[in-house]
């Protein structure tokens, strides 16, 4: 699974969930800490990634550290798929 596919999945999720103009969301835009997405969205996003990318995300990994930006999610998913 390449980074582009993962990023497409994240953006598809954000397009559905975030009212903010999609153009303004960059790789390093803060998602959770800025309030763009909340804890319910984060859980949904984790479940969405599990379903579409066929990977297991433990509950304890759903944190601001791993989900606060597209870049962080990419890095986390890369680590999970690599591991």
């Amino acid at each position: 699974m390449d980074a582009e596919t993962v990023e497409r999945q994240i953006l598809a999720f954000l397009r559905e969930r975030v009212e903010e103009d999609q153009e303004t969301i960059r790789r390093d835009t803060a998602l959770v800490s800025s309030g763009l997405i909340d804890s319910m969205d984060t859980v949904r996003l984790a479940t969405h990634l599990e379903r579409t990318l066929r990977l297991k995300i433990p509950d304890e990994d759903i944190s601001v550290e791993n989900f606060d930006s597209i870049a962080r999610i990419l890095s986390y998913v890369e680590g999970r798929l690599g591991g």
Binding site: E20, D41, V43
Partner: protein, 390 residues
Amino acid sequence: MLPLLLGFLALAPLYWLMSGVRLRRDFLSLASLTALGLYDWRLPVLIVAAALLLAAAGRRAWSGGTGTRRLGAAMGLLLLGILFVGNKMAGQGGGALPSQSGLALLGISYLALKLAAAWIELARGRLIAPRPRELLAWLAFLPTYPSGPIEELEHFRSQDPRPTRVGVLQGLERVLFGLVKALLLAHYLGVWVDPILAAPEGRSSGELLLGVYASTLRFYLDFAGYSDIAIGISALFGYEIRENFDSPLVRRNLVQLWQHWHITLTHWLRTYIFIPVSRGLMRHSGKRWEGFALAAGQLAAMLFCGLWHGLGWNFVLWGALQALGMIWVGLVARPIGRLLPRSLVAWWRHSRCGYAISTLVTFHAFALPTVLVVADVESSLHYLRLLFAG
């Protein structure tokens, strides 16, 4: 409780003369346990026993398998539950505010959450062979012991506390801010509002509404004030403690308000209740039931939050109302917002008018149920009836 915390400040100069992380940490543990022992001899006994038990379980679990870890954690959580409920029941009649500690044993509510987190991390295999001295320092740390913030073990033990001149001055300033909030502002708001809450009959709606505002503000100032004092005293000893309040009463919706109110508590609730409950239900249901799973997780977390503040139907109802507000924001209002024209939503999100109205509505949604925190269900409903009847 406050003299205990302020008395601890006197130890700071001696602490500054010490060198080496271990010596400083052990000195703080000993000083904290002694201070708590002077307050109530049972506290140091309990803390030392909890640290030793957790350390022993941690060593055994690390050499055992997942089953051993989970069994150990389940027993640890059961013991904690018995201690927490017993303590709450023995202390019925005390208030929910840090300044009103009416519990049988001081600080058990916070200690229980820290220990519960450690036991759960142990079950998850993420608490690796904790050392008794580290656990003792973390559990007994006096500045945060009585009323938080709830420090995570990893954050606490990863620190290399080195008091600096700037840190000490900022810490003292923070303590002063906290004292003004808790002792001056919250106290006098309480003096003014308590008679209104106790006897609402014969008062105008305006006065009763002001009573709700004052009560909410008092809650904020009391909790945030004690957090400031804890963070400030910790800074004097070179420790950086997580922030606990970040202007929660001026947030656009209830979810955001709770993300900035008692931040370390909401982090705990999210990590150990909301996420596991929601995800557990999601795994056993299809995508269609996602909303239900999230709502159930939110409800479970806020009901626990209510019962953690006090064992009573008023706290259950208060937790349920807060959960309903958050479910409304996440599962109803936001989907409705997505049906509206994007330009209108963008204007609402970025305009001062949208911000003012959202904040005002959010504040009232949070503040009105707080009458349940200071009185039983019947008295609270009576108060609200008088308020709305005019």
